[in-house]
């Protein structure tokens, strides 16, 4: 694992924050993840890269898990501290040139927005629609970085989102072109349900890509 110095941590909500580290020449493709660990501990956790391919720093989006072995330690990091980084890994890779049809649907719950944040930072002229499901509108992590016309915030715990309800309810009501490339990231229950909705609308399985967080 390689040692990366923390540049800053940025609190987004009480429990969610961004850790920005030195890039240290880590070469990744947007959508991939890294494993983070701390000195003196053998515990490691995987986090999707949050920053873009062209950023000169490396960022991950972290939600503190009660009793978690890593997230609590990451939250206490200060500028100048060391984090151990391994990777990149994963096949949820995203190079627009790989796709014949350049239309993308991104569906995320919670911190599952992380790889899509990396996508749009890297390819900001994409023809995409992002559907982000959270409980409360305050969890709209860095939505300013996305094109507001391409973003739908679904909130299930308050009425402040673009849509009041879960992403699955929202998607079930939408017309989705069969040639859309669909990327799903978040908890497996959401991915299961969205998979059924999309295939039910005629999207071929080969156009559906997923990254299961938990």
């Amino acid at each position: 694992m390689n040692k990366h110095k923390v540049i800053q941590t940025r609190q987004l909500t009480d429990s969610t924050f961004v850790v920005r580290m030195e890039r240290s020449q880590l070469d990744f493709q947007t959508g991939q993840f890294v494993m983070l660990g701390m000195n003196g501990s053998t515990d490691r956790r995987e986090y999707s890269v949050y920053s873009g391919e062209n950023d000169d720093y490396l960022e991950v989006l972290v939600r503190e898990v009660k009793g978690g072995k890593i997230s609590g330690k990451l939250k206490r990091l200060k500028a100048g501290d060391d984090v151990y980084v391994d990777g990149p890994f994963g096949f949820f890779k995203f190079a627009p040139s790989n796709f014949e049809v350049q239309k993308f649907l991104f569906v995320a719950t919670g911190t599952g927005i992380s790889p899509f944040h990396s996508f749009v930072r890297t390819h900001n002229d994409l023809d995409y629609q992002l559907v982000h499901g959270v409980r409360f509108a305050e969890e709209a992590y860095d939505h300013r970085d996305f094109n507001s016309e391409r973003m739908t915030l679904c909130t299930s715990g308050d009425m402040k989102g673009d849509f009041n309800g879960r992403v699955t309810t929202y998607l079930a009501e939408q017309k989705i072109d069969a040639d859309m490339n669909c990327f799903l990231c978040g908890n497996s229950e959401m991915i299961y349900e969205v998979f059924d909705i999309l295939t039910g609308k005629g999207i071929p399985v080969s156009n559906i890509y997923s990254e299961v967080y938990f």
């Binding site: 053998t42 890994f89 497996s188 299961v212």
Partner: protein
């Protein structure tokens, strides 16, 4: 993999002057090559080491452990075993043993190196092959796939490919020595070379080199590989297998589940469309190839409908063998954090149902072979008195009447006379060499 690792451990210890004993109580040095795929195997390690540590009250004994070890277990083993090392550090084992009790080796304080640096030193150890006719050659170590049910990426580190020239040299040496069955080993054997980003040949190119070697050396042998990952299984691999006679027409292609959603949750990075394409390509290009697979039943959240999709896939692909396992959460794997919510009785029912599917297809397949003469590599004596047994190129088990143990390790021709679900029986019709009874 552990069998292959064990051959190298024995070689290193023999070289250092140690002698093997089958009597555990007589040993002055005892080691374990751990496997973290199932919790039960790790539980056994704890049971054994506590017993051995009690023996230390009455005798001199040094214990070591290596192999596939999770970080949490690694920390505990540091306190229980005298020496804990990663397999890549095997060449230093004699030195660790000699220093034990004199100084505390600094490596004991190190964690698991996920990058497998120095793994080439391990590969360069000449193994003490445990068989004179079957050998296993590691060509790659580690895994980057992160299937959610598996802890290997956390125990064996990243995928690292062994230099192809060393692999081909080891194959050549084995062929010269008359080995008949050689298996290339790796966690994702067909991802070979990808970690080198263009500085190493690819897996099909490696197979081609070995195929050409077989042509040049004009010796008979079967080359197998295990296990490939469907994600990296290209048409080219299948085409190369078809092209060269020494590349065995047996393909082990882990499916794990026949349901796309379960595959997503397993983070397998292949779907049934991809799997179906590979099987269709195999059937089209190598129709005589046998097909083996791995399946997990009762994975977390697996519904009856999803299991039925696996059963349908068994029907569709008509595997010759399936290594079907009941899902059990493995500490360290991602799925360990999820509810293991399929009751054990239901898992057993699903396992039984798939075994029945396998039987249903195997018997008709095997019946077609009755009357045919098949080439068989004789591997040993059979449980049935007065019989020897072996396998065909497609790894179908064949037994035949003979008490001539000199045939073990030889190719023979056997005419099949009867078939059952998982084996064939026949009459010896030809041996390749004059073998004295």
């Amino acid at each position: 993999m552990n069998l292959s690792d064990g051959e190298r451990v024995i070689s290193v210890l023999n070289e250092a002057g140690y002698e093997w004993t089958d009597n555990e109580e007589e040993a002055g040095l005892i080691g374990i090559l751990a496997c973290s795929v199932r919790q039960k195997a790790i539980d056994k390690v704890y049971s054994r080491i506590h017993k051995w540590n009690k023996w230390k009250n009455n005798k001199n004994l040094i214990t070591f452990i290596s192999g596939c070890i999770l970080p949490d277990d690694h920390e505990k083993f540091l306190k229980l075993f005298d020496i804990t090392f990663q397999m890549k550090d095997l060449p230093q084992l004699p030195e660790m043993i000699s220093r034990y009790g004199v100084t505390t080796p600094t490596h004991l304080k190190a964690g698991i190196d996920p990058h497998n640096e120095n793994i080439e030193e391990f590969w360069n150890v000449k193994p003490n092959y445990q068989s004179g006719f079957e050998a296993f050659i590691p060509i790659q170590n580690g895994c980057d796939k992160f299937c959610t049910f598996c802890a290997v990426p956390y125990t064996r580190g990243r995928e690292v490919s062994r230099p192809s020239k060393d692999i081909v040299a080891e194959v050549a040496l084995l062929i010269t020595q008359g080995y008949k069955s050689i298996t290339l080993l790796g966690q994702n054997v067909n991802s070979y070379g990808l970690d080198k980003k263009g500085d190493e040949i690819t897996f099909p190119q490696l197979l081609r080199e070995i195929g050409e070697l077989g042509k040049r050396m004009k010796k008979d042998f079967w080359l197998y590989f295990t296990s490939p990952h469907p994600r990296d299984m290209t048409d080219e691999v299948i085409e190369v297998i078809a092209e060269y006679p020494v590349l065995a027409k047996q393909i082990h292609l882990p499916m794990q589940s026949g349901d796309d959603k379960v595959l997503m949750r397993m983070n397998r990075k292949h779907n049934m469309e991809k799997y179906r394409h590979i099987v269709e390509t195999i059937r089209r290009i190598i129709p005589q190839a046998t097909l083996f697979t791995d399946i997990i039943v009762g994975f977390t959240g697996e519904t009856e409908e999803q299991f039925e999709n696996t059963r349908k896939a068994m029907n569709e692909f008509k595997f010759n063998m399936s290594y079907t396992a009941i899902y059990s959460p493995r500490p360290g794997a991602t799925s360990h954090r999820w509810d293991d919510d399929v009751p054990l009785e239901e898992k057993k029912r699903r396992l039984h149902a798939l075994t029945e599917e396998l039987r249903k297809h195997n018997l008709p397949y095997n019946n077609v072979l009755i009357g045919q003469t098949l080439r068989v590599l004789v591997r040993g004596t059979d449980r049935k008195d007065g019989f020897l047994s072996g396998h065909t190129e497609g790894k179908l088990i064949v037994r035949f009447a003979s008490s001539n143990e000199n045939l073990i390790g030889q190719f023979v021709d056997v005419k099949i006379t009867s078939a059952s679900d998982f084996s064939l029986e026949g009459e010896l019709v030809k041996t390749e060499v004059e073998v004295l009874a």
